[in-house]
Symmetry: C2
């Protein structure tokens, strides 16, 4: 039983990687840099994008992944950011992550020729999104200090599978027992030296650094070979 399950999962991941490569080719053809943005529910991904994207020196677009609803997409559309909603609740209680095929199904509704940087906001979940590549250039995760400093130890794959960790809601630090040194220690334990940025998407603290990082990623990835 367990071996059959392993086979099913491995086959699914193989199929996913094949479709992710096709997405990647499409993004390359359009010169679009793609970022897969992941976090637990309520860590502040959308608020971060509301803060970081308006007025960016490259043209951003967002693909919003949610189990249900279009709340986040509506928030970003209010900021005049091109956004496409992708819901995962077709059929069951809802997929807990985006996969390459779901992203592929959304490509026709994305104005790829009008954007330089596509941010794919994944479903809020610290497990499965880390297992499915979608054709992205980079993966960024947002970890809220309200979640506690033990999260890298409890969800190691997620913290390992990203090129940048954005530590959000630092405006609340003085009201929490969160120990930043311990968090850094745990994070280095699972992903030594991964870059991290301390941010409050609510107050704007640290957002300039995120904006610079996004522009650098886009310029670097989009540069002719």
């Amino acid at each position: 039983m367990h071996r059959v399950k392993v086979r099913v999962v491995e086959d699914a991941l193989d199929a996913n990687n094949t479709i992710a490569s096709a997405n990647r080719a499409d993004f390359d053809r359009e010169g679009v840099t793609v970022l897969n943005l992941m976090s637990a529910p309520g860590a502040g991904k959308t608020t971060l994008l509301e803060r970081a994207l308006p007025g960016l020196s490259v043209r951003p677009g967002v693909l919003e992944g949610d189990v249900a609803g279009s709340l986040d997409a509506d928030r970003l559309a209010d900021k005049h950011i091109p956004v496409t909603q992708l819901n995962t609740d077709q059929g069951f209680g809802g997929e807990c992550h985006l996969d390459a095929n779901m992203v592929r199904s959304a490509l026709p509704s994305l104005p790829l020729s009008e954007i330089d940087l596509l941010i794919i906001e994944n479903v809020g979940n610290l497990v499965c999104p880390a297992e499915f590549r979608v054709g992205e250039d980079a993966r960024v995760m947002v970890s809220s200090v309200t979640e506690g400093e033990d999260k890298p130890l409890k969800y190691p794959l997620m913290f390992r599978a990203c090129e940048l960790v954005i530590v959000n809601k630092i405006d609340l630090l003085e009201h929490l027992d969160f120990d930043m040194e311990k968090f850094d220690y745990h994070l280095d334990g699972v992903h030594p030296g991964v870059p991290r940025m301390l941010v409050s998407a609510r107050t704007g603290e640290g957002i300039d650094e995120v904006r610079d990082w996004l522009v650098a990623l886009t310029t670097r990835a989009g540069a002719p070979a």
Copy 2:
């Protein structure tokens, strides 16, 4: 492709329900009431248990579900609560939920004859845990106010699949933009009238109500027919 996937998922859920019934029969034979405790990562499930379980008038035990590590189990063992760790990281990046078979595999290591109330602390995730029954009497979810008031709309199945919603971290309310009326409105939209309790596991506020609820559940479920 999608139809095959639907079939695989339906078969998996059927198999899960069969095993959940077997778990249920074992729990009944031992007279153990079982609660499936769910939340997003870092919502405070373990802190809640640390506060609510010591000195309870029924004998509690905990089955700790985590992708990796035994941090939470260690915390509860420190409080002299019987606890068994169940890790889901065998093979892949880790399962994002507990299923009936995982719980079944842990039954031999649980001292069922010595406990009245078994609390199964699920993996932190607002999607898949709601889809897999494990043989429980009741499902409770913890929603932290730091996650925002929109969560019932974004993860409707989870908020629908529980008999009680514990709204945690209310000690932080004065530092947040969280709108409790909006949260209640959204929650009633997906699960009209579901009982809710306002709690701070950190300060202890509201914990007595949770303790009373746990005892009542145990007494009611364990009462001879």
